[in-house]
């Protein structure tokens, strides 16, 4: 093995070179669906992912895929789904994304069956659909509580079937679609230094050997997922280091509304080592109730005004809803996630928490043991194996866990393209679709809908450049190589106190958890920004022991820079938004402010070259949220619109209708 700091083995001439039409970064649901689309459009496609093929974070998704197929309740349609999604996001969603998502989700789910997916069925043999928080009708296509695994395996197997097609037609499995697994992308290449200079390719390393590789490609699709590894208590895996967010920002794309981070209400809280692991919302969808230490179903005390007309006011009505949803309102355990997470947080703070600092989630009182094992097999398994708790007999202890970032790359809704030509983003890394809070089940459908769109448009764009593909220069490759090797070179620098990347990472997680967590205050966020500054200078001298072959210490040192950059974006946006909405709660600015609903917070860098630059500064500007089309506005009750929009935004007809029925008086049952 060569010495890790030996740059001679990494000269541009020795870096592995690849040329593709479309490079997809990330192999979760969005990445694989994008790659399938690009390959089916006839383009040579590379899939690059940090883990083994089939291990992406999508496997963790439990509950289901939201799609208004109407298999269980025929009243469901895309309009109802659209309405639920906008409500869940507190009207900050890009309306066009929410519209496309609601319209296309059923097509994307049905398509999975043609790839071999096996969803749970209704009595008529159709795809079964289950209830979930914020969804008016049973809407989530599911496979027990392992829907994400089914999704990833199905797409993985579809990719394999395309490779088998390649073998038949070209004698090579990888003629038109190849998976580069355990390969991390560290930089994007651009054809110039300006914001609108097009994408030229990407740079990365093989985790196994530490060797570098450079891709030349006119189209790059970011499908890298989220940022949860910057928080201490999280349901996210090690991969969630905000790579795509950071790559996009450095390449000149903009990030939208990074302050909105979803804390899933139900993560495990005991034992300490599993704190944060997800407990699916299906537990509540299938009848689980939340109780505090006094045995009270506290969610009835936390129904916010905007949702009051849609949720049951009494336990009796909530209970009746499970068997007679047409004549009863749903229980408040099924409020959107942000509401439930805040409620649990308040109960624990008020001293009514469980022994391990959560609350109790109990499904054993409503379902028979055999039904629990059938409907929630992996929850049953997870609690039994990791916590010695039998959920068919006793309640679980649960509390909020960092789960998802609504903020992400600002994209054109129809094409998924960022403001950088040739750079696309789909899935969790993209922003706008979910507004300030994502509904459960809307993530898997988002991956499929916008993954396909990103792949289709990336292929079209690559086609338009087929006679003049952008090129990557040796200087760019050299710069990227130097940046990647920097952690090995710290030791050679005189008078530098070495830092440990693992220690810095732990401090970052504690900082974000404590100071930019579920409840925020200006002075705490300011303190977090100071600490991030300090951590950044320490991360710059984080050194690595050992060589370049499968060295997690080195990988972390590189990923840490992305986490720090994105954490700063989150903190900056969280400080700027002086209201509370969805996944952003300000103790010093409680309540939603319709004036703020009109504004997106947009982050950018002043050095949009694609490459790392320690002198870069992040800028933050306010930008108007696109106004919803009139035909979509009409889908809402005037009273409801008035709770979110300013008077000036209300259409004349709505304003007139609303004045007849004042919205401020909650309708009590």
């Amino acid at each position: 093995m060569s010495s890790p700091t030996d740059i001679s083995g990494s000269a541009p001439a020795e870096v592995e070179r690849h040329s593709y039409d479309v490079v997809v970064i990330g192999a979760g649901g969005a990445g694989l669906r994008a790659a399938i689309a690009a390959r089916e459009a006839g383009k040579r496609t590379a899939i690059v992912c940090k883990s083994l093929f089939g291990k992406a974070h999508t496997v963790m998704a439990e509950g289901g895929i939201a799609a208004s197929m109407g298999n269980v309740n025929s009243k469901d349609d895309w309009q109802v789904h659209f309405r639920d999604t906008m409500r869940g996001g507190k009207f900050l969603n890009h309306f066009r994304m929410a519209e496309l998502h609601a319209k296309e989700a059923p097509l994307r789910v049905w398509e999975l069956e043609t790839y071999g997916a096996l969803f749970d069925r209704t009595k008529e043999g159709k795809i079964s659909q289950r209830n979930f928080g914020g969804h008016e009708y049973p809407r989530l296509a599911h496979v027990g509580d392992r829907t994400g695994l089914e999704l990833i395996r199905t797409l993985q197997q579809k990719v394999v079937s395309l490779q088998q097609e390649d073998l038949r037609e070209h004698g090579d499995y990888e003629a038109r679609i190849k998976v580069f697994h355990e390969c991390a992308i560290t930089e994007l290449f651009k054809a110039g230094p300006d914001v609108d200079s097009p994408i030229a390719g990407a740079f990365g390393y093989w985790r196994e050997t530490g060797r570098f590789l450079a891709f030349e490609a006119p189209s790059v699709v970011l499908a890298t997922g989220g940022i949860g590894k910057s928080f201490k208590v999280t349901s996210n895996s090690w991969e969630y280091t905000g790579d795509g967010h950071a790559l996009a920002l450095r390449a000149g794309a903009t990030l939208l509304n990074m302050e909105f981070v979803q804390f899933h209400p139900t993560g495990m809280v005991w034992p300490p080592s599993v704190k944060g692991i997800l407990v699916t919302e299906s537990v509540r969808g299938d009848g689980g109730v939340l109780r505090n230490s006094e045995g009270k179903r506290f969610m009835f005390d936390y129904i916010p005004d905007v949702f009051r007309t849609q949720y049951a006011e009494t336990e009796e009505e909530g209970d009746r809803w499970y068997t007679d949803p047409d004549n009863n309102k749903r229980p408040p355990e099924l409020l959107p996630r942000d509401e439930v997470a805040r409620a649990i947080n308040s109960e624990v703070k008020a001293g009514r928490g469980s022994p391990a600092g959560g609350v109790f989630l109990d499904v054993s009182t409503r379902l028979k043991a055999e039904d629990i094992i059938k409907k929630l097999p992996s929850m049953h398994h997870q609690f039994k194996e990791l916590a010695d708790v039998d959920i068919t007999k006793e309640p679980m202890e649960v509390g909020p866990t960092c789960h998802y970032v609504m903020g992400g790359v600002e994209v054109d809704p129809d094409s998924a393209q960022s403001r950088v030509p040739g750079l696309y983003a789909a899935g969790e890394v993209a922003g706008g679709m979910h507004g300030s809070n994502r509904l459960g089940g809307n993530s898997l459908s988002d991956l499929l809908v916008f993954g396909k769109r990103a792949g289709d448009h990336a292929a079209l764009y690559a086609h338009s450049l087929r006679n003049a593909p952008p090129a990557v220069t040796d200087a760019q490759i050299e710069a990227a190589t130097r940046a990647a090797l920097a952690p090995f070179l710290i030791e050679d620098r005189p008078n530098v106190e070495r830092e440990n990347a693992y220690t810095i990472h732990a401090e970052l997680q504690q900082t974000m958890n404590d100071l930019v967590g579920i409840i925020r205050k200006a002075d705490e966020i300011e303190l977090a920004l100071k600490k991030l500054d300090d951590l950044r200078s320490r991360a710059a001298v984080a050194s690595v022991e050992g060589g370049r072959e499968f060295n997690p210490g080195w990988h972390l040192a590189i990923d840490l820079q992305n986490m720090l950059l994105i954490s700063e974006c989150i903190a900056r946006a969280a400080l700027a938004r002086e209201e509370s909405r969805g996944g952003h709660t300000r103790d010093d600015f409680p309540g939603m402010n319709p004036e703020w609903r009109k504004l997106n917070l947009v982050l950018a860098t002043d050095t949009p070259t694609g490459l790392r630059d320690s002198q870069s500064r992040i800028t933050l500007v306010k930008q108007e949220v696109p106004a919803m089309r009139a035909d979509l506005l009409e889908l809402f009750d005037p009273n409801e619109l008035q709770k979110y929009l300013t008077d000036a935004e209300l259409p004349a007809s709505v304003a007139a209708a609303a004045s007849d029925a004042p919205a401020d008086q909650p309708q009590r049952g």
Binding site: S51, G144, T503, G553, W554
Partner: protein, 261 residues
């Protein structure tokens, strides 16, 4: 509650390596993967280990603990005596890359050799109809998280490197069974299982079932029924005659390619 445990972890690469001793803190409720992570953070920054979800859902952190194939994230420290020395080694059936990370590409090559799901002709997306009871058989096998512990423990390839070429291992024989039992799959899988993927090598010792962290009954529900169907066909005179005169299931359909080298 916390104590220092004695760990022996295999460190090395494809060329050389040995077990190294560590003493490392253990806290209540922790699993072996927590301890490996603590080693990384405090004593061995470059210790290579695969992991992702830490919840038994992704199948990345497969290794051998005291010689038994396990997921590191689902093995609780409370199952060991505090005085016990815990030995963690990489999967034995696959070549070592570094420390606890092995080259599992055998599994991906075998996955490619199984002809994919063939959708039924003339059924539009959205029109698929299947009964729950019929999908459940294949659903059991689709619980597989591809940790490859079953392939790792299977003696057909664990102790006989040369069998790897002709044997897909329990994981992918189960995949064939899954497709065979898929209510709408349009390909004949039974002959493939025997001729192309080495079903005959399996002598149902059930080691695969024993190590499956998802508790899938690989042998009883996937491999044995496949074997029975293959045998039924081979020795059924009607089927034999049908195949001779071109009436057997699948004979009129386009066959997926056989990719055996």
């Amino acid at each position: 509650m916390a104590y220092d445990a004695k760990f022996r972890v295999w460190r090395g690469d494809a060329y050389e390596g040995d077990l190294q001793d560590y003493s490392v803190e253990v806290n209540e409720g922790e699993v072996v993967l927590d301890i490996i992570h603590r080693l990384q953070a405090t004593q061995a920054g470059d210790l290579a280990v695969r992991w992702n979800c830490k919840a038994g859902k992704c199948g990345s952190c497969s290794a051998e603990i005291n010689g038994r194939p396990r997921l590191l994230c689902m093995t609780r420290m409370s199952t060991f005596d505090e005085a016990e020395t815990i030995t963690v080694t990489p999967l034995r059936t696959f070549p070592v890359i570094r420390d606890l990370v092995t080259d599992v590409s055998y599994n991906y090559e075998k996955a490619r050799e199984i002809p994919s799901f063939a959708p039924p002709e003339g059924v539009a997306p959205g029109d698929y109809r299947m009964a729950q009871i019929d999908v459940e058989r294949s659903q059991e096998f689709r619980k597989c998280i591809e940790c490859f512990l079953c392939n790792n423990v299977c003696h057909v390839i664990r102790d006989h490197e040369d069998n790897k070429q002709n044997f897909a291992g329990p994981r992918f024989l189960m995949r064939v069974a899954e497709l065979d039992m898929h209510p709408l799959d349009a390909v004949d899988r039974q002959k493939q299982a025997q001729d192309d993927h080495g079903l005959g090598y399996c002598n149902i010792t059930k080691c695969c079932t024993e190590v499956c962290p998802e508790h899938i009954k690989i042998t009883d529900n996937a491999l044995i029924p496949m074997k029975e169907r293959v045998a039924d066909r081979k020795f059924d005179p009607v089927v034999w005659l049908g195949s001779k005169i071109g009436l057997a299931k699948g004979s009129g359909r386009a066959k997926a390619p056989t990719t055996k080298p």
